[in-house]
Amino acid sequence: MFKIIEKRRLNDQMTLMSIDAPFVAKKAKAGQFIIIRVNETGERIPLTVADYDREKGSVTIIYQKVGKTTGLLDTLEVGDSVLDFVGPLGRASELEGVKNAAVIGGGAGCAIAYPQAKALFNSGATVDMIAGFRNKEIVILEDEMRAVSTRLFVMTDDGSNGNNGFVTDALRKQIESGAKYDLVVAIGPLPMMKAVCDLTKQYGIKTVISLNPIMIDGTGMCGGCRVTVDGKTRFACVDGPDFDGHLVDFDEIIARNKMYRSEEADALHRHQCMMEGMSE
């Protein structure tokens, strides 16, 4: 059992939790993930390590309420425990030697981009952080991101924070006004990562993305997380989750990730019908 030692709402969808997991905290690095199972009948889902404190033995995760498991996790409070918390899994991000980076987060992806920005910033790199959200109400981790970046650009799709545009608009503007990045890290929804990669390809800037596909064990056993990179089959859990974004077959991943969407919608619909006292 792994105890929850902190819980903080970041916006109406996203929550931060710190979990007491000394084994994981001792080894965790930016870019790695954990697998969590809330209770005996629960699913195993992967979540990226958002932060860790080796001395306290705690690991921070950030989740968005999207399905049954994250919904269940959200019912727990400080002092409660989750049944399984396995990790750190996957390979740590390779950030050595980077001098000038742009780290891009899209929505919930900012939670995953943040530790990478932090690792880069702490290693002495210049870091431009570009964070994109639908509107200003759901902006998360603004102070945290500012603390680990040289410059922070928060963009909103509707312009409600005064910065109208997508993350790609901000990135293009910086590149065109002379920023010389030796690495772009892009983490967020698949279409966003794809758009960033299309852009950076034009400028020949190395771009790393992080994938969070369907998986069960996280150790290479199920093959559910397989992705095609440079024409070869790779497992996101052991070969990733970071990959060279210019070599990833995004269309294939987008199709695979849709797999359980109708089941999730069904489950949600049934749940809502019950709530409204309707019968089918």
């Binding site: 084994f23 994981v24 080894k27 199972r37 009948t41 629960g42 699913e43 195993r44 049954k68 498991t69 269940l72 049944l83 399984d84 918390f85 396995v86 990790g87 750190p88 899994l89 069960i216 064990d217 996280g218 150790t219 290479g220 056993m221 199920c222 093959g223 559910g224 397989r226 992705v227 095609t228 089959t233 052991v238 077959d249 294939e252 199709a255 695979r256 849709k258 797999m259 359980y260 089941e263 999730e264």
Partner: protein
């Protein structure tokens, strides 16, 4: 004397495809005695040497004849850590029963069925299960992986007085016995009661511990373990590398079976999703392929195809599994090989196959299949499960210096099952590549002997 085995009572095909309940129901006392009486207790005991863990077969059968089932169980248990498991999943027809003297004229004694009877009787009737706890000898050994190899190694070492800790990557102990073999062939409660017995013997289990990630093998040594046994199995699924294989709706057998067995996707009270498919193709001819096909049927698929590139004769699956699969209306497409998986907007739509012919025998004596030119045809399916084998998981070898592997990724060991690094032993599928439960148990057992010798020689 009766020349046929006492038949095993089992659920009818119509009944069993509606649930995941165990298919073979097990002998009653009368049936067991009747079958035991068929054993002539021949002097040369060919069955014993054909068993990878040398169960004293005529002796335990003799106890069943006398109605002393407890002793029968204890005789089995003295060389086999998992009697109830082996009685169900061992390929007896290729091992003990293949050498049975009764098999010369007629059918061999149903040794596996009798083993299962003794084990089930014990688990059901002996409430206070005594486990002899050995006098601690003060030495610590780490076992990586809680599948058949690890459990058997841990059990034997604990019996010798070692303080044994088993590290398991998943959230439940048992390895392939939990995630791979389905409930209807091996009830998970049986696996767990065998594991409980090991705990009583003093074996400690640490779950959610991915060795190579959470702790490295070197850190195990730093933590005072004097020897390490690697029984991490063959958990890396092989794919066919054909177009369309990465589409949604294509699963490795590992993923398909893990969702169903370990994560209980077939039960409404569990959260794990599995899509409901109408027509499923399973590719492969081994026990895993049979398991996947039979699970697919139980999940409600209307048509389940088993696609295998050789003929039925070459299928590596146990005869009993092939028979059960046929009874459950699995459609066998032998001498058939998939070349492409075709998908549309809503997922998989069909699998394109070619017909195969058997050519000249290869080095291993198996006739290798050759594609018949121009024989392409489509089978309409909405899901494909790939069950063409597994390779050893690379997590340990890539995080442990000095461990050598062969070109297939299998760990290299000497005759004592020691790897190329001092104090690190290995056995089971991690060394042999995907094989059987009992061979892994045999390796775990031999490794336990070697580890004992190794630690004693250092004193």
């Amino acid at each position: 004397m009766i020349n046929k085995k006492t038949p095993m009572p089992s659920l009818s095909a119509e009944e069993r495809i509606k649930s995941f309940d165990e298919v073979a129901l097990g002998y009653t006392e009368e049936m067991a005695k009747c079958e035991a009486d068929r054993c002539i207790e021949c002097k040369n005991k060919p069955c014993v040497s054909a068993c990878p863990v040398n169960v004293r077969i005529p002796e335990f059968i003799s106890s069943i004849k006398k109605g002393d089932y407890k002793t029968a169980y204890e005789i089995i248990k003295s060389t086999n850590s998992l009697p109830a498991v082996c009685g169900r999943v061992c390929p007896q027809e290729k091992q003990c029963e293949s050498r049975c003297t009764r098999g010369i004229k007629g059918e061999p004694v149903g040794i596996g069925r009798l083993e299962r009877f003794a084990a089930d009787w014990y688990l059901k009737n002996i409430k206070e299960k005594e486990e002899r706890v050995a006098e601690p000898n003060g030495h610590k050994v780490a076992v990586i992986g809680s599948g058949p190899a690890g459990l058997s190694c841990a059990g034997d070492l604990a019996a010798l007085g070692y303080e044994v800790t088993v590290f398991e990557a998943l959230h439940a102990a048992g390895g392939v016995l939990m995630y791979g073999i389905p409930e209807f062939r091996l009830p998970k409660s049986i696996v767990q009661s065998e594991i409980e017995q090991l705990k009583k013997k003093g074996v400690r289990f640490m779950l959610d511990m991915v060795i190579g990630k959470v702790l490295t093998v070197d850190e195990l040594f730093e933590n005072g373990y004097e020897a390490v046994f690697v029984g991490s199995g063959a958990g890396l699924p092989n794919f066919m590398n054909i177009p369309g294989e990465s589409a949604a709706g294509v699963y490795s057998a590992n993923e398909f079976l893990t969702r169903i067995n370990l994560m209980k996707a077939y039960r409404d009270d569990y959260d794990t999703p599995i899509k409901k498919y109408k027509k499923i193709a399973v590719v492969g001819g081994g026990n895993v392929a049979m398991d996947a096909a039979r699970c697919a049927k139980r999940l409600g698929a209307e048509e389940v195809y088993l696609i295998y590139r050789r003929s039925e004769e070459e299928m590596p699956a146990r005869n009993e599994e092939i028979e059960h699969a046929k009874e459950e209306q699995i459609i066998f497409k032998t001498l058939t090989n998939p070349v492409r998986i075709n998908s549309g907007e809503s997922g998989v739509e069909s699998v394109t196959c070619v017909r195969m012919e058997l050519g000249e025998p290869d080095e291993g004596g198996r006739r290798s299949p050759v594609a018949v030119e121009g024989s392409e045809f489509d089978i309409s399916v909405d899901c494909v499960v790939i069950a063409i084998g597994n390779s050893p998981n690379p997590l340990i070898r890539t995080t442990t210096e000095g461990i050598e592997v062969n070109r297939k990724g299998c760990l290299v060991v000497n005759e004592d099952l020691m790897t190329t690094r001092d104090g690190i032993f290995a056995g089971g599928d991690a060394v042999s590549g995907a094989a059987t439960v009992i061979l892994a148990m045999g390796a775990g057992k031999s490794a336990a002997e070697s580890i004992d010798k190794y630690i004693k020689s250092k004193q």
